[in-house]
């Protein structure tokens, strides 16, 4: 069960439209390493986690990622507000406009629609946690690419926050994985010959 909180995790207030930049940032909305995939992957994987620490971490990180999805959607929306048709053409936004106007759609930076394979649920806690460690690094890398592309501090600041959270999540997943591996080791019994 979730309840909505009428606020963003981090404030976003973008003054200037930049639809070309929005088309790159939208990849963290519905791209291969985006927040939608991350959130629903963790929330789906949590059912088959073997201990309470793992269940809690996946539940709570999956929930935070939903908040990040909202932040990325907000950035895309604020970058594409209040456009005129000449601006849409000038910024190369006409292809996106043809299908979605200025709606926020789940797609990657290249325009490919969201692929549910991003949810990657193996049902094996070790495999799933390694998947998540890689996913957090890929998302961190994507945010760094976006920060390099962006030239507007209004956009860069929230992107830096989102990048930092990927690193924190990576850290927590590492601790969850180590806990599970330690538990497995504890159950190994070595016979000692006398």
């Amino acid at each position: 069960m979730w309840t909505y909180e009428k606020k963003l995790q981090y404030p976003i207030k973008i003054k200037n439209a930049n639809p070309r930049l929005a088309k790159a940032i939208i990849t963290q909305y519905g791209g291969p390493d985006g927040e939608l995939g991350a959130s629903l992957r963790y929330l789906s994987q949590r059912y088959t986690m073997p201990n309470d620490t793992a269940r809690a971490a996946l539940n709570d990180i999956g929930t935070e990622e939903l908040g990040h999805l909202e932040m990325v959607g907000t950035i895309v929306h604020q970058l594409t507000r209040n456009l005129t048709m000449p601006e849409i053409k000038k910024f190369g936004f006409d292809d996106y406009y043809a299908d979605h106007r200025v709606g926020v759609y789940t797609m990657g930076a290249g325009g490919a629609a969201f692929d549910a394979n991003a949810f990657a649920v193996k049902g094996d806690p070790i495999a799933d946690l390694h998947e998540n460690l890689a996913a957090e690094q890929k998302a961190r890398s994507t945010y760094e690419n976006l920060i390099r592309i962006a030239d507007d501090p209004d956009v860069i600041e929230p992107l830096k926050v989102l990048r930092a959270r990927e690193i924190v999540h990576f850290q927590r997943f590492g601790e969850v994985l180590r806990g599970i591996l330690d538990d497995i080791d504890r159950h190994k019994v070595f016979a000692v010959k006398k």
Partner: protein, 96 residues
């Protein structure tokens, strides 16, 4: 959104961020006393600040803000909206 409202919301966001980050930390370090204390302090401060904000500016969650929320929950600005040149975004056309 007036200046005071924005500043108060920002403080709530800071406190709730602290809660969120400590929550994840405590998920994997439940025995750490200092983190648990910091978490409890941030939760209490966040709640108090949110209560205060909700009395002035309306609900943050559907169960906050008292009886007025029944009717006033729908009122913006919603979080993805912001203000341009002192005007609410709603005054701008977003569908071209």
């Amino acid at each position: 959104m007036n200046r005071n409202r924005e500043m108060m919301l920002r403080e709530i966001q800071e406190l709730d961020f602290r809660v969120q980050d400590l929550r994840l930390y405590l998920d994997t370090h439940p025995q750490e006393t200092a983190a648990a204390e910091a978490y409890n302090t941030a939760v209490k401060k966040g709640k108090a600040m949110t209560d205060h904000y909700e009395k002035l500016y309306g609900a943050v969650t559907p169960t906050g803000g008292g009886d007025a929320t029944a009717r006033r929950w729908v009122e913006g600005p919603w979080p993805w909206q912001s203000y341009k040149a002192g005007k609410e975004e709603g005054a701008y056309h977003v569908d071209v």
